[in-house]
C-alpha cells in the first residue's frame, strides 16, 4: 500500500508565453505508515505535486498510483481517492463555512454519504484528535475561535474523512512559536496513534527535521535529494546553495568543521551539538 509517482511531468499555461514546467520527471514512492517531509521553496513544484496525489490536478505525463489505483483514470473513483488522500491546504482556516464547529467537521463525512451515527462518531473523534474537548467546542461558531484553533478545526475536517494518507501544506504558516509547537505536537501524536501516513510540506528543514523519517527535497520541479533527515543534513551546504533554510545548529556545525573541528556532519538538535562539541573538546585535551 503506497502512493507512487511515476515519471511525472506537469506543465501549466501550455501554449502561452507563461508556459512553465512545474514538475519534471518526478519519481517517488511513499509507503504506508511513513512520515515524510517534502521541502522546497516557492515555485519548486511541491504544491503541484501534492495536488496530483489526490486528483485535484492531473499530470501532463506519467501517472500517480494510490494503493495501485491510477489517479484520474476513472473519474468516478476521484472522490474515493480524495477520501484516501486527505489534503490540508495552507491557511486551511479560510475554508471554514458552517455555523458550528461540529457541522463544519461533518462536511466531509456527509459528502461520503455515511449514516448519521457514523458522521457524529467521526466528527467527535476528529475533534478530539486535534486536542479539543468535543462537548465544549461542538456548538461554537468557527468564526469565534482564535487563528490557531480555527486551523485545528480545519485539520479535523480533513481527519474526519479518515484518510490513509494525510498531506499538510505548511500547517504552521503564520503561527507564532507556541502555535507552531502545538500543531507539530498534534501531528506527531496523530501519526503515532492512528498510523496514518503523514506527508508534511514545508519550505524549511528546521520545522520538519525532528518529526519525519524521510525527506524529499524538490528543486526546480525535480527531486533533488531524498533520504533520512540526517542524510539530507549531511549535505547542508547544498541545501543552502539551493536557497533552503537550515537550522542554526547545522550551520554552526558546518562552520566548526571548516575550522578543523572533528564534528559529525548530521547534527540537528541542540543536545546532539552539545555532546559532539564536548566529545571533541575532551579529545583535544587528551591529546
Amino acid at each position: 500500500m503506497s502512493i507512487k509517482a511515476e515519471n511525472i511531468k506537469y506543465v501549466y499555461s501550455e501554449g502561452t508565453p507563461f508556459r512553465t514546467l512545474a514538475l519534471d520527471d518526478v519519481n517517488l514512492s511513499i509507503e504506508q505508515g511513513d512520515f515524510i517531509g517534502i521541502i522546497g521553496h516557492t515555485g519548486s513544484g511541491k504544491s503541484t505535486l501534492i495536488q496530483l496525489f489526490n486528483g485535484l490536478e492531473m499530470s501532463t505525463e506519467g501517472k500517480i498510483l494510490v494503493d495501485d489505483i491510477v489517479v484520474g483514470q476513472d473519474k468516478k473513483k476521484l472522490r474515493n481517492i480524495r477520501q484516501m488522500v486527505g489534503l490540508v491546504f495552507q491557511y486551511p482556516e479560510y475554508q471554514l463555512f458552517e455555523e458550528t464547529v461540529a457541522k463544519d467537521v461533518a462536511f466531509g463525512p456527509m459528502n461520503l454519504k455515511l449514516n448519521q451515527e457514523e458522521i457524529d462518531k467521526r466528527t467527535k473523534e476528529a475533534l478530539e484528535l486535534v486536542g479539543f474537548n468535543y462537548d465544549r467546542i461542538k456548538d461554537v461558531s468557527p468564526f469565534d475561535l482564535s487563528g490557531g484553533q480555527k486551523r485545528r478545526v480545519a485539520i479535523a475536517g480533513v481527519l474526519a474523512m479518515k484518510p490513509k494518507y494525510l498531506i499538510l501544506d505548511e500547517p504552521t504558516a503564520g503561527l507564532d512559536p507556541a502555535g507552531r509547537n502545538e500543531i507539530f505536537e498534534q501531528i506527531k501524536k496523530l501519526h503515532k496513534i492512528s498510523n496514518v501516513t503523514v506527508i508534511l510540506v514545508s519550505h524549511s528543514m528546521e520545522d520538519i527535521a525532528k518529526l519525519v523519517n524521510k525527506v524529499v527535497v524538490l528543486y526546480k520541479g525535480k527531486v533533488h535529494m531524498q533520504g533520512t533527515p540526517k542524510e539530507i543534513y549531511a549535505q547542508s551546504e547544498e541545501l543552502v546553495r539551493i536557497g533552503l533554510g537550515i537550522p542554526q545548529i547545522a550551520e554552526l556545525a558546518n562552520e566548526l568543521r571548516k575550522r578543523g573541528f572533528n564534528i559529525k556532519s548530521d547534527v540537528i538538535t541542540v543536545d546532539e551539538a552539545k555532546e559532539e562539541i564536548l566529545k571533541e573538546i575532551r579529545r583535544r585535551k587528551n591529546v
Binding site: L244, L256, I277, I281
Partner: protein, 273 residues
C-alpha cells in the same frame, strides 16, 4: 532624540473586555534605531503598532510621534506620514493594478505635485531594488516582492519611521530574507525601524529587542541582554536562537562561555580559540 514616546498607554478593543490588549506600556524609540518587538499572538504587539500610527487611540496615556500627540485630530495626517506602516498580508495593502501606481498612492493622497511624485516613486523603487518591476501588476509578484513594494509605498511618503506589523509572517525563507535585507539597508540610511515579529532570527538583527506578553513589556534591551534570559523567554511562548541555547548548555557543562551569545560566529570563534 526620541521619535516615538509612549507614556503609560492602555487600550482595549471593547468596553466589555476585562483585560487590556495593551496594559500600561511606556516605551521611547530613538531616531535611527532598529527596534524589534516580539511576543506571541495576542501579546498586544500589533495593537501597539496601530496605536502609534493613530489607527487606534489610547484609552489612557499618551503617544507622541515627533512630539505630535496621536489623539490630536489636526495632526493625524502628519503622524501617519511620519510613521508609515506596513502590514502582514502583502495582498491586502496594495491598492493599484500597477506597481508604480501603487507606490504613488501615498504621495498622491498628500497632494504632492506630479513631477515630485514621479521622483519619489523612482527613488523608492530603487531603494527596495524593485525598479525594473515598476510596470508589473502586483498579483504577478512573489510575497517578498510585494512586501518590498509596500515598503517602497511608505518610503514615497517620506516617512522618518517605518512600522512593520509582522511583515514576514506569510513569506517563505527567501522572501523573509529579502525583506530583512531591505530593512537593514534602510536603517543604515537613517530610517527608524520598528519591526513587530515572532521570528527570533530577525529580532537578533535589531539594535534593541522589546518582549511583550499579556499587553506588557517584559524585557527590553539589546538582543544579547534579552536573549540570555532563555527560561523567561520560553515562558512567554517564544523561542531563543539555537546558538544561545547551545551556548548556555555548554556553559552548564562547565565550559567558559558567556550566556549572551546570539550569533553563530561568536560561538565558533570562542570554541576555536
Amino acid at each position: 532624540m526620541d521619535i516615538i514616546k509612549i507614556e503609560n498607554v492602555k487600550y482595549k478593543y471593547s468596553k466589555e473586555d476585562t483585560k487590556y490588549a495593551v496594559d500600561t506600556v511606556s516605551l521611547n524609540i530613538k531616531k535611527g534605531q532598529f527596534t524589534a518587538i516580539i511576543g506571541h499572538n495576542g501579546s498586544g504587539k500589533s495593537t501597539l503598532a496601530k496605536l502609534i500610527n493613530s489607527l487606534l487611540l489610547p484609552i489612557e496615556g499618551k503617544i507622541y510621534v515627533k512630539d505630535m500627540d496621536t489623539s490630536d485630530d489636526s495632526k493625524l495626517w502628519d503622524i501617519r506620514q511620519t510613521a508609515g506602516m506596513v502590514f502582514q498580508n502583502p495582498d491586502n495593502q496594495l491598492v493599484a493594478t500597477i506597481v508604480e501606481e501603487d507606490i504613488a498612492f501615498g504621495p498622491e493622497n498628500q497632494g504632492v505635485e506630479s513631477s515630485e511624485i514621479r521622483k519619489r516613486v523612482d527613488d523608492a523603487l530603487k531603494a527596495v531594488g524593485m525598479y525594473e518591476y515598476r510596470t508589473r501588476p502586483p498579483h504577478m509578484l512573489s510575497g517578498g516582492q510585494k512586501q518590498r513594494i509596500a515598503i517602497a509605498g511608505i518610503l514615497a511618503l517620506n516617512s522618518d519611521c517605518i512600522i512593520l506589523d509582522e511583515p514576514t509572517a506569510m513569506l517563505d525563507p527567501s522572501g523573509r530574507k529579502e525583506v530583512m535585507d531591505t530593512l537593514k539597508k534602510l536603517n543604515k540610511q537613517g530610517k527608524t525601524i520598528l519591526l513587530i515579529t515572532h521570528y527570533m532570527d530577525e529580532a537578533v538583527e535589531a539594535d534593541r529587542v522589546v518582549v511583550m506578553d499579556k499587553g506588557n513589556i517584559k524585557l527590553d534591551g539589546t538582543p544579547k541582554e534579552v536573549f540570555k534570559n532563555l527560561k523567561e523567554i520560553k515562558k512567554f511562548g517564544l523561542d531563543v536562537p539555537q546558538v544561545t541555547e547551545l551556548a548556555q548548555a555548554l556553559k552548564e557543562e562547565g565550559l567558559n562561555i558567556p550566556s549572551d551569545i546570539i550569533h553563530i560566529k561568536e560561538l565558533v570563534d570562542l570554541l576555536c580559540q
